[in-house]
């Protein structure tokens, strides 16, 4: 062989070897996430350190994204060639839809089986960030929204945890008679409206109906239970004065203030706020939670589950393997889950038992509820509704309360917006990517 050919051969050999060396060499994984709060930040730093100990060739470069309109930030980053490798953000198709359609997010469907996530993680973690039969994120920060209540006050007034809707109504009447506002609710914050209406709606509908609504875009006008649900929470409770006076103008913080001060007895909220509850209430009274009560004797108690956000991989990333390793380490690892529970009271999707978990009682209650198979755990409405419908839900609940529109009229608008989104391909059944 001539020397030239030999050299060419060596170079040709060396090239793939070089790439292989690079993948075993130092790489920097860019991660954008939402762990801004103090304890969240502490927890993720601990997890990152553990990750870097396990994978010494990977350096994690983390940026906590701001609270503002980050969709455009993410869009801009994903369009460029220097975007992050891993993104942890909202996963609703209203938010991430454009990025999915542009092919900017990696399809993770096969990864679930390959990494054993199907066995290790809660099903909602997979089902919520999936559309068109394909999954694009690992859902994290499992939240569910029971009703938190002032147990001390309940005991004083002789009220037990309501198990049925009529129990709840009776309890609220008693509270009202004793001069306490039943619901600590602030209607100015949109999330509160979505949570309240969504929870009650899901409480009245059975799983079959919910699935049909979410995944087949069945008309909302067809089921009388929808009307009952809305009449209950937007008309009946408003008329009986179960919401704070002028509640439509209060932010959710101001509503919570009423709860902390003992002026309002119950607040439908997410377990993500447990830390805030414990911090603000301290020893003033005992706070506990119960799930939304059964509407009919036969229905299973419903609890709405959300995922706060999800971990996604940039389709353009050069380090797919490392990115998935990272996600696996954060979400499907019992030690990481333990850190998040104990340091930040946040729920990782790891569903298997975690030994020696030392958490406040409320957190333990929440985790028990999540693993309780007698509870119907369903994706909440804001995980599944198209964006325009969500806007309507968030802003227009108060319209019924303040008698500007009646329930049938509201359902009409809600449904037509849903069907319009369906025509635009923005519902779960019609979205294509």
């Amino acid at each position: 062989m001539s020397r030239k050919v030999l050299m060419a051969f060596c170079i040709a050999l060396a090239l793939p070897l070089g790439m292989f060396a690079e993948s075993r060499g130092q790489i920097t994984l860019k991660v954008w996430d939402q762990w801004r709060a103090e304890n969240d930040s502490k927890a993720i730093t601990m997890v990152d350190d553990n990750f870097m100990k396990k994978y010494p060739n990977v350096k994690i470069e983390r940026t906590a994204m701001p609270e503002s309109e980050i969709a455009d930030l993410i869009k801009a980053a994903l369009s460029s060639d220097s975007g992050p490798d891993v993104i942890y953000s909202e996963v609703g198709i209203g938010f991430i839809g454009p990025m999915l359609k542009a092919g900017a997010i990696l399809d993770l469907t096969n990864t679930w089986k390959a990494r054993g996530w199907n066995d290790k993680l809660f099903p909602v973690s997979k089902s919520i960030p999936s559309v068109g039969g394909r999954n694009y994120a690992v859902g994290c920060e499992l939240e569910f929204c029971p009703i938190y209540y002032n147990k001390t006050l309940f005991k004083k007034l002789g009220i037990n945890e309501p198990k049925t809707m009529s129990d709840l109504d009776a309890a609220m009447a008693k509270l009202k008679a004793a001069g306490v506002t039943p619901w600590a609710w602030g209607g100015k914050t949109w999330w509160n409206n979505a949570n309240l209406v969504g929870s009650v709606l899901w409480d009245y509908l059975d799983q079959d109906t919910i699935n049909k609504q979410m995944y087949q875009d069945v008309s909302w006008k067809s089921n009388p239970a929808v009307k009952d649900a809305l009449n209950k929470c937007l008309v009946e409770w408003a008329q009986k004065g179960y919401y704070p006076t002028g509640g439509e103008a209060l932010t959710d913080d101001e509503g919570l203030m009423l709860f902390y001060q003992g002026k309002a007895a119950m607040v439908p909220n997410s377990n993500a706020n447990i830390e805030a509850f414990l911090g603000n209430i301290g020893d003033k009274f005992e706070v506990s939670s119960f799930n939304w009560p059964k509407v009919t004797p036969k229905s299973k108690p419903n609890t709405v589950a959300f995922i706060g956000s999800g971990y996604m991989v940039n389709a353009k990333t050069k380090y797919q393997q490392a990115a998935i390793d990272y996600i696996d380490f954060v979400c499907a690892n019992p030690d990481s889950a333990k850190i998040f529970y104990e340091v930040a009271s946040k729920f990782m999707p790891y569903k298997k038992a975690i030994p020696n978990l030392k958490v406040p009682r409320l957190v333990a209650e929440a985790r028990a509820a999540l693993t309780d198979s007698s509870l119907l755990l369903l994706p909440g409405i804001n995980m599944t509704a198209p964006p325009e419908v969500m806007t309507f839900l968030e802003t227009n609940a108060v319209q019924v309360m303040t008698k500007q529109i009646d329930v049938p009229g509201w359902i009409d608008q809600f449904d037509s917006l849903w069907q319009k989104s369906k025509a635009e391909g923005m519902t779960l059944s019609t979205f294509k990517w």
Partner: protein
């Protein structure tokens, strides 16, 4: 042979081009180019990522048929009327009160009235948000003190009153500004006309409406037009106080297009709304400029 259209005239000072270059350069890049871009974008459908789809005038057709656009437009108009009531009118009255005979502490009063104008809308929204708070707000406290407990509602969350509540807050920052303009205008009026009317036995009110107002009618018209234009450009105060709520009742064109673009991923549609808004404002401005120049000639 070069055409004679470009003559090097010695009396042209070409250094002028150099002097206007910074201004015109920045203006072209950061104002003209974005405006042109907006026009182009309004003819497309775009989600913010990926390719743009040309749709011609579809966005405009959709916008004109969109009830939210008309609702927003009406809300802007309502805001304008509100500003006139709680901004322009008090400004005029205060100017009249201050411009007449010597008033003690005149500069102090003027300084005070203009103060709210200095505050950013964030501050205004915080302060007035507290005033309107249903439980501890000043407004409801006063109402309850007067014994009318039923009226102590959640002002910013009430569909009928939210817009007026926001307008009052906006007007609070506006009347001082109008007053300053009107004072300057009143100082240009002819005192001898008022004195003549006084001798003829006219009282203050008659003098005000028959003698003084006509002399400053130009300025009044100008302020009204400015108010109209301003009312259509607002964004901050609504975004901060109600975000277009409750139930989109206070949605205005600027917040609607912001939401359509940045929340619903309809950047082309949002741009078309922006263009409609711009066309309206431009039309009013141009008509006003034209009529003013006609009057001055």
């Amino acid at each position: 042979m070069r055409a004679a259209s470009f003559k090097f005239r010695p009396r042209y000072q070409y250094i002028g081009f150099l002097m206007i270059l910074p201004v015109m350069g920045l203006y072209c890049v950061f104002t003209l180019y974005p405006i042109a871009s907006s026009v182009v974008l309004s003819l497309h459908d775009w989600s913010g990522i990926g390719p743009k789809a040309y749709v011609g005038l579809d966005n405009y057709a959709e916008a004109f048929a969109d009830p939210m656009v008309w609702l927003s437009f009406r809300n802007n108009l309502q805001y304008c009327l509100g500003l006139i009531a709680v901004g322009v009118a008090p400004g005029l009255i205060l100017a009249a009160l201050l411009a007449g005979e010597r008033i003690r502490g005149r500069t102090v009063f003027q300084t005070i009235y203009f103060l709210p104008r200095l505050l950013s809308m964030v501050v205004v929204s915080i302060v007035w948000g507290w005033i309107y708070n249903p439980s501890f707000g000043l407004l409801n406290s006063i109402i309850r003190w007067l014994g009318a407990k039923d009226f102590s509602i959640g002002w910013l969350g009430n569909a009928s009153f939210a817009m007026w509540a926001v307008v009052v807050a906006g007007g609070w920052t506006y009347f001082g500004f109008c007053m300053v303009i009107f004072i300057a205008a009143l100082q240009n009026t002819d005192p001898s006309l008022s004195e003549a009317a006084l001798i003829d036995g006219a009282n203050w009110l008659q003098r005000f409406f028959s003698v003084i107002i006509p002399q400053i009618s130009n300025v009044i018209t100008m302020v009204l037009i400015l108010t109209l234009i301003d009312a259509f450009k607002i964004f901050d105060i609504i975004y901060l106080m109600t975000l277009g709520g409750p139930g989109r009742k206070t949605e205005i064109m600027a917040t609607y297009l912001y939401r359509e673009a940045f929340r619903h991923n309809h950047f082309g549609y949002g741009s078309s709304i922006a263009m409609i808004l711009t066309a309206f404002v431009l039309l009013v401005s141009i008509v006003f400029q034209y009529s003013r120049e006609k009057r001055e000639s």
